[in-house]
């Protein structure tokens, strides 16, 4: 029998909503989450209507596609122009690079293909003599999969353009931005499936912000918010697991071992945020022969600066919501995106355009 649970059950939702109301802080309190899937669930289900007026809930740099710097997209396009096949997740295709997106480069003749899994890129490499490059984006949830295929004795015509990022370091960096009064974090559930609640411990002790791991069903999110507000009421700040059915304290040690066998921490550039020390990954030297950056000598166009009027940098750092941007839904729409947050299907602007203003659950 298929087990069935009511994780969108309106009765429990109202009860958790009451709990949130009981726990409402008197002073303004800002909760930031860092996950496009959270933003989708929050906005599509109208969950912000459960929040007291004092509580703000914003998406930070939670969309890996949106935070991938234009220069990495430029790099993928330049590699494709050498005649190589570049494989990318579909979300990445329309994100603007400095001159054009992967999609536009494809329409001009570059062989850029979408894949659903890193495995698909490896399979393609085994079927052709041409160079195949996997443009690897994503957080800790996705990085072990790139590692797994590199541990699988890939053929010599395969390489990886790695742009993986680490979420906890970005969460820490956001706390240090001026005028960014973050009261607490709703931590991403599936990143936490891999890194565990322990993945947030190293920097928590000095930060004093509640961090609650949340799942993705409406009730999961309301529950996590209630746990955050309870910590705030009780003046404590700790890592708390609101998604124990998918997250263990130690995370997924097998996936982490894959990741650590192939990648080591490195500084990384985040679109809209800048370079965050230790927030990315680079291939370990044993895998240098599969590093597309070393294999292909390409010239990159000058990187485009900030887009005039676009507030993506503020949205990505949880200092603005899409409605604060003068371009939102006027000149910037999913059909004519100006900034990355409108392009990525998990970008805050794209989600608000599609689902903003929904009735509550």
């Amino acid at each position: 029998m298929t087990p069935s649970f009511h994780f969108a059950d309106p009765v429990r939702a109202r009860q958790l909503g009451d709990a949130i109301r009981i726990l409402a802080p008197a002073e303004p309190f800002k909760i930031v989450h860092v996950c496009g899937t959270h933003e989708m669930a929050i906005t599509r289900n109208g969950l912000r209507r459960f929040l007291p007026e004092t509580v703000d809930l914003l998406e930070g740099p939670g969309c890996p596609v949106c935070v991938t710097p234009a220069s990495h997209i430029d790099h993928a396009i330049a590699i494709a122009k050498t005649g190589a096949i570049v494989c990318s997740f579909g979300d990445m295709m329309r994100v603007p690079g400095s001159e054009c997106s992967l999609d536009e480069a494809r329409s001009r003749g570059a062989d850029i293909r979408t894949v659903l899994s890193a495995s698909d890129a490896l399979s393609l490499a085994r079927e052709t003599n041409r160079q195949v490059v996997f443009f690897a984006v994503g957080f800790e949830t996705t990085t072990p999969m790139t590692a797994a295929i590199l541990l699988e004795d890939p053929p010599a015509n395969f390489s990886v353009l790695a742009s993986h990022k680490q979420v906890p370091q970005a969460m820490a960096a956001l706390l240090d931005l001026p005028e960014n009064r973050i009261g607490a974090y709703l931590a991403p559930g599936h990143v936490s499936t891999i890194i565990g609640t322990e993945g947030y411990q190293p920097w928590l002790e000095t930060r004093h912000v509640p961090i609650v791991v949340g799942g993705f069903e409406p009730l999961d999110i309301l529950y996590a918010i209630a746990l955050i507000l309870r910590q705030h009421r009780d003046r404590i700040a700790k890592v708390e697991n609101g998604y124990p059915r998918a997250v263990a304290a130690e995370g997924n040690p097998v996936a982490r071992a894959l990741l650590e066998a192939v990648f080591e921490p490195a500084d990384a550039a985040w679109r809209g945020v800048g370079t965050i020390p230790g927030s990315g990954y680079r291939l370990r030297s044993e895998f240098a022969s599969f590093d597309a950056r070393q294999r292909f000598a390409v010239d990159l166009p000058p990187e485009q600066g900030e887009i005039p009027g676009c507030r993506c940098p503020d949205v990505l750092t949880a200092r603005a919501v899409p409605l604060d941007c003068p371009l939102f839904s006027t000149t910037c729409t999913p059909l004519t995106p100006v900034g990355p947050c409108m392009v990525g299907s998990e970008g805050a602007c794209s989600i608000w355009f599609r689902y903003g203003g929904r009735e509550t659950l």
Binding site: T141, F216, P244
Partner: protein, 91 residues
Amino acid sequence: MCLAAPARVLEVQEGQLVVDYGGVRTTARSDALAEDVSPGDYVLIHTGFAIRRLSPEDGEETLRLFDELTASLSVEGPVEDAPSSRQDTVQ
């Protein structure tokens, strides 16, 4: 991007699982999975890889945790047989 969805395990093979993924029979790699699984178990799938075994007991435990929190704050119940607009499988 970090989207992961549950699937039911139909067969356990070398390095991969045959799963029922929302009604579609497909495969998922199991080399990033820390737990042992058997046919009938549920797993969370991310970009073609199983990343975590899910158990119905843990799903029930989640609902119990929700109720424990609301009860501790004296939110009015009860919740038995609550009507639902949507039925979700364990996730």
